[in-house]
């Protein structure tokens, strides 16, 4: 029996991109259902009643919520093909540590880069650069965070890359000047089909920001 895989998503979400990339890496056929987060659908509210957020992965009618949990679920459910997490327990723990770090530290300061102003935005910029520099140190001279193979930590972070142009424009700074290795890593990731397919054009994100601010009442 064929698997039915549905992804409730929102096109600019760096979190939704993680799940899309993971599914593409495993060559899983899925139905992408774009959600209106300002008018949440019945299925979204039913499938994620606790958080009412995207992405939601629905596998044969059963929902899995939280993007990194989805990535791990995808890796465990479809073990063939590209492994998303290392098999060694210590390496897995390291990958999860950095995934958790990205969740706690990256998305926090980013809204203020495109949506904030003044001192708050300056503080956010500083924090964001510090976090990226920590990640850059962790990356070192490796091709990907896990070494030679693209995987979990790369998937956790890469979705934010398509927002970089927007951050730079609205917060007035250059990310490449501060963290050139991160930019080089991101361009390397974009060469992968799964990533190229799953990330929207940065231009589209930058053009969307004013509309997003209006809808969120952030003017």
């Amino acid at each position: 029996m064929a698997d039915e895989v549905i992804l409730l998503d929102y096109w600019p979400s760096a979190f939704g991109m993680r799940t899309r990339i993971a599914l593409e890496e495993k060559n899983i056929k899925f139905e992408h259902r774009e959600q209106d987060l300002f008018n949440k659908s019945q299925i979204l509210l039913e499938m994620n009643p606790v958080h009412k957020k995207i992405p939601v992965l629905i596998h044969n009618g059963k929902p899995v919520c939280e993007s990194l949990i989805q990535v791990e679920y995808i890796d465990e459910t479809w073990p063939g093909g590209n492994s998303l997490l290392p098999s060694d327990p210590y390496q897995r723990a390291q990958a999860k540590f950095w995934g958790d770090f990205i969740d706690k530290k990256v998305s926090g300061p980013t809204w203020v880069l495109w949506g904030g102003k003044g001192e708050e935005q300056e503080a956010g910029k500083k924090e964001f650069i510090e976090v990226l520099k920590t990640l850059e140190t962790e990356l070192g001279d490796k091709a990907y965070f896990g070494g030679e193979t693209f995987g979990y930590v790369d998937i956790a972070l890469i979705g934010f890359y398509c927002w970089f142009d927007a951050y730079e424009k609205f917060a007035n700074f250059s990310i490449e000047a501060e963290c050139p290795k991160v930019i080089a890593w991101a361009k390397r990731c974009l060469k992968r089909e799964s990533v190229a397919k799953s990330l929207p054009d940065p231009d589209k994100i930058t053009k969307y920001v004013p509309e997003l601010k209006k809808r969120l009442g952030m003017e």
């Binding site: 989805q70 679920y73 465990e76 459910t77 210590y90 999860k96 540590f97 958790d100």
Partner: protein
């Protein structure tokens, strides 16, 4: 079987440290417990967890693992042939356990903590209401996950039991501080009964801090503002 050299940097009062210790007990792993002094951070802690500088840190053959839920998963995987499994065997059940463990940390614990840090009666009332609402979610989660069995994980304690159960000492302390029942036998009967079973588990009992001692520590950590 050789378990290797195992150290755990932690504190008797920490919920997150307790998670790691319960997991090590479940696997019957001997370890050296390195108690941190409250108010200071040891050289070893700063070296082993330079990013967050927090406990617990598990050091296995000189390699550090940080973040309590990650440590518990590591213990389950590194010593998979020891004792019983901590995580469920099926990917979907594992995803559900991980989801609720994340909920405990990101939503439930934050609400519990805000009772202790609340300033004034209004803030306290609001914090209590939030904890009650979120505990209700956990009651439903228990019914769903346990499937009629005694623990979230089934017949024996597992990942999600550990994630939430480690809070039981602090849960009591916050109840006393708020002067309000937060684990109600009539409102959340399944959780109430689970809590008793969890605390009596032989791998948990010796680790659960004594309420008076913990309450005294809580007063140090969360001093009340002067009137």
């Amino acid at each position: 079987m050789v378990t290797g050299d195992v150290k755990l940097i932690g504190s008797w009062a920490s919920v997150f440290v307790m998670r790691a210790r319960i997991a090590l007990n479940l696997k019957s792993i001997s370890y050296e417990f390195l108690q941190e002094t409250y108010g200071t951070k040891s050289e070893l802690l700063l070296k082993s967890n330079p990013v967050h500088k927090k406990i617990p840190v598990l050091i296995h053959d000189d390699k550090p693992v940080c973040e309590s839920n990650i440590i518990v998963q590591y213990i389950d995987e590194a010593w998979s042939s020891y004792g019983l499994s901590i995580l469920p065997s099926q990917p979907y059940d594992r995803a559900i356990a991980r989801f609720w463990a994340a909920y405990v940390d990101d939503k439930w614990f934050i609400a519990l903590r805000s009772i202790l840090t609340a300033r004034g009666e209004e803030e306290k009332k609001a914090a209590i209401a939030e904890v009650e609402e979120r505990t209700d979610h956990l009651e439903k989660a228990f019914i769903e996950c346990s499937n009629g069995k005694p623990f979230f994980n089934g017949d024996h304690i597992g990942y999600l039991d550990i994630a939430l159960g480690s809070f039981l000492g602090w849960w009591k302390v916050v109840e006393l501080d708020a002067n309000h029942i937060l684990l109600d036998e009539t409102k959340t009967p399944s959780l109430f009964q689970w809590a008793e079973r969890f605390c009596n588990d032989p791998d948990v009992k010796p680790l659960m801090p004594e309420t008076t001692k913990l309450a005294e520590f809580a007063r140090k950590l969360f001093p009340k503002p002067q009137a």
